[in-house]
């Protein structure tokens, strides 16, 4: 430890100047990002200012994003903890404050990498163990049979033309011939022969500019499939279809679909009843609530989710988000699903920092004469 404290690199990294620069940059980024979201939407502002390592101002001038600044600040704080902190009982408060601050970084890391936001729409009597992401998509393949779907999927986020993805269990592979994060689809024109396989007879998919609201983007792509019964099989998939293309291989039938990325819940959520109250003499909803059954490992329990009372179970929180009615009068309830593995960490970090401040105050107040 003594050697580490004398390490020149660590000493340089623990410079207070780095702390000041980083805190100034965070101030600028927070202010800029908050103003920018008014014009460009929350998601784009979040991606540009807070989730990026570096972004370009005006397309040319690089500027550090909050992700990079936070990493630098974290390293700076760890270095300072090693080289500058004095580990004595009298300094316990300061050490606890620094531990609390470091825990904030850990909480931010866990939240950034461990949080998933999705939604789950159920009709009365229906249950599911998967929720759908709002804006991320996946290329899914499953065998069509009576039992549950065993799905193999690749997230489309990093798809680029020429990539080849393997569906090993089914022994076939897919090459990405074209992929557009936002697209428009068109039917076969008059006299045009169908070259591409598509369940809805779509023959053309064209790219359009990516919308600043990611939920509005509908991807499309053309995929060559190798190793099936059909030779030279090229499939066109469009995210707006909600119906899979069919592939056959060795008397087995498979479905392939471009769909919202699914998140697996470690339990099944079943909607038992949905209730809605309206304001008198209007059709405006006053309150709505979903009575759900949480089925997990042969046990089940009923929970009522209402607008201000979410269900918290394991790492998941289910909020009552919206409702709808289908054309047959069946009520549908949509629950917003948030998975956050580190949701308690910020509270622990705050508590540690507060305790550190209090301890330091007490030690300073009662140990002052020793100076």
């Amino acid at each position: 430890m003594k050697q580490l404290r004398k390490n020149r690199i660590l000493k340089s990294l623990s410079s207070i100047k780095i702390t000041v620069i980083c805190l100034s940059l965070l101030f600028i980024l927070t202010l800029w990002g908050t103003i920018d979201q008014v014009n460009n939407g929350l998601y784009l502002a979040q991606e540009r200012f807070f989730n990026s390592l570096i972004f370009l101002i005006g397309g040319y001038v690089p500027f550090p994003g909050a992700r990079l600044v936070l990493w630098v600040l974290f390293i700076n704080l760890v270095s300072a903890s090693i080289t500058r902190l004095v580990y004595r009982w009298r300094q316990a408060g300061i050490i606890l404050i620094h531990s609390g601050l470091l825990l904030f970084f850990v909480a931010a890391f866990v939240t950034f990498h461990g949080t998933e936001e999705s939604q789950l729409t159920l009709s009365e009597g229906e249950g599911r163990n998967v929720s759908a992401n709002y804006n991320q998509w996946e290329l899914s393949v499953w065998e069509i049979k009576k039992s549950n779907k065993n799905v193999f999927a690749y997230p489309t986020k990093n798809f680029s033309v020429g990539d080849r993805v393997e569906f090993t269990p089914h022994d076939f592979s897919v090459r990405i011939d074209a992929y557009y994060p936002n697209s428009e689809a068109f039917l076969a024109g008059e006299g045009q022969t169908s070259v591409l396989v598509n369940p809805s007879n779509i023959q053309v998919v064209k790219p359009i500019p990516v919308d600043k609201e990611p939920e509005r983007n509908v991807p499309g792509g053309i995929f060559s499939v190798y190793g099936t019964d059909q030779k030279d099989l090229r499939i066109l998939l469009y995210g707006g279809e909600n119906v899979p293309a069919i592939i056959t291989k060795n008397n087995k039938t498979y479905a392939m679909q471009l769909r919202h990325k699914r998140h697996v819940l470690p339990f099944i959520l079943k909607l038992k009843d949905f209730r809605m109250e309206v304001h008198p003499n209007t059709e405006m909803a006053r309150s709505y609530e979903s009575l759900v059954e949480v089925i997990s490992n042969d046990t089940s329990r009923e929970v009522l989710i209402s607008m201000n009372e979410p269900l918290r179970y394991k790492d998941f929180t289910f909020y009552q988000a919206s409702y709808a009615m289908d054309q047959f009068g069946r009520e549908l309830s949509t629950l917003a699903v948030v998975k956050n593995s580190g949701r308690l960490l910020p509270y622990v970090a705050s508590l540690a920092t507060f305790a550190g401040l209090l301890l330091h105050l007490i030690l300073m107040a009662f140990g002052g004469k020793k100076r």
Binding site: L68, N76, G125, Y154, K157, V243, I268, Q327, L332
Partner: protein, 207 residues
Amino acid sequence: MANFIFLIGVVLLMSSCGQRPEKTQYEEIVISPEQPKAKGSTTMTDPHAFMKKEVAATKAEPSISWHAPEGWEEVESSGFRLTTFKAGIDEQIMECSIVSLGPAAGDLKANVQRWMGQIELPMPNEKIFTYFMKNLKTTPTQAGKPATLVDFTLLQSFKKPMQPSMMTAIISLDDQTIFVKMTGAGHAIDFHRELFIELVQSIRVKK
């Protein structure tokens, strides 16, 4: 300042590894809601009852029969309907009915226009409509006469998958005209199209 730039370089280097698509594997479980049962329907004790079953028309003077597609639930019918099916969950919910009318049940174009009105589908320009009518597909049936298939999703935008849509089949027999009509959202029609055609193909005249 030099320290700060050095530190930025280290962080960027650490995070510069490329990201390749990573495969995920999961089991998707869906508990389907219970379908409403038709009045007078009997409990199925046949262990193979979940497979295709033959359903005979139970209305007055039934003259045709058909195979109910797997997973389609028969519900109570009224009026001219010989039977009604419901199937699907979520966006894939649809209703399908079979109706038998007399041999002179209106010409095809008039019926198509009437159905377009039912789903509030605006009339396309003359060229597109003519092309649409000219390219209607047919499929053989066990009744001995082909069925003409009218798929209205072909006239609708894929950007509006929840738009009401319809697919119909018309079988002109000597003494009657059979109409099979499936209604639901656009992609519900997409989802059930093959089973619908299977149902149409299974229609036959009872001897």
